[in-house]
């Protein structure tokens, strides 16, 4: 009964390729997020969607494009991958705006660009 599931768990690819990471939540939450965790373990928000609408778009290269086909899914597509994109990407969801409602995270996708 995984609450937030993302696939794949590991992704190894070469520079210049295009790849996608999928995320699904079965919690009935309205808001979903993508976070990037760097090698120093710092978690930085990339995008947030509420009921399929983009509400947060941090300073992220436009090679990154989120897509939310419905409120239970938020996928991340990355074009023209670069070495600096190597990181762990976490999908998360929350019932409403996150100040008092917890974020539920997936187990992450470790992306390695060679």
């Amino acid at each position: 009964d995984t609450a937030v599931s993302q696939t794949p768990k590991y992704l190894v690819t070469q520079m210049g390729n295009d790849k996608s990471i999928k995320c699904e939540q079965n919690l009935g939450h309205d808001t979903m997020y993508w976070y990037k965790q760097d090698s120093k373990k710092f978690l930085k928000i990339m995008f947030s969607y509420n009921n399929k609408e983009l509400i947060i778009n941090e300073t992220v290269p436009n090679r990154f494009s989120p897509k939310s086909p419905d409120k239970a899914h938020l996928n991340l597509h990355i074009n023209s991958l670069e070495l600096g994109d190597s990181a762990v990407y976490f999908c998360a969801s929350s019932q409403e705006v996150p100040h008092n409602s917890p974020l539920h995270f997936g187990n992450g996708t470790r992306l390695t660009v060679t």
Binding site: Y35, K41, V97, P98, H99, P102, F105, G108
Partner: protein, 112 residues
């Protein structure tokens, strides 16, 4: 410069010892959350504090929100190896309802 600074960044202690982790900012937060992350997994919420001066206890863990809502601390009593993990604070800025900002993290290792 991180909006939320955690200290220490790394902490290695023996089982049975006590420890405190700090989360500090110059900004005011409407609430603050603490998460623990284990290797290969996503962060998991431990607690949310919302009122200045609030203290919450979760078994051997005690969380406090500063009176001015700019800082928080996590105190662990009699640490156990199962407490090992990355501890992250995350705050919602007052007046910015839609986003949590995460701290820089504290990697705790409790040795048996």
């Amino acid at each position: 410069t991180q909006l939320l600074e955690q200290s220490p960044q790394f902490l290695s202690i023996q089982e049975g010892e006590n420890l405190t982790v700090y989360c500090n900012s110059s900004s005011v937060f409407s609430s603050l959350q603490w998460y623990r992350q284990e290797p290969g997994e996503g962060p998991v919420l431990l607690v949310t504090v919302v009122t200045g001066g609030e203290v919450k206890k979760l078994k051997r863990l005690t969380f406090q929100f500063g009176d001015a809502r700019k800082d928080s601390s996590l105190h662990i009593t009699a640490a156990q190896p199962g407490d090992t993990g990355l501890y992250l604070c995350a705050g919602g800025l007052a007046g910015s309802a839609r986003q949590l900002t995460f701290g820089s993290g504290t990697q705790l290792t409790v040795l048996p």
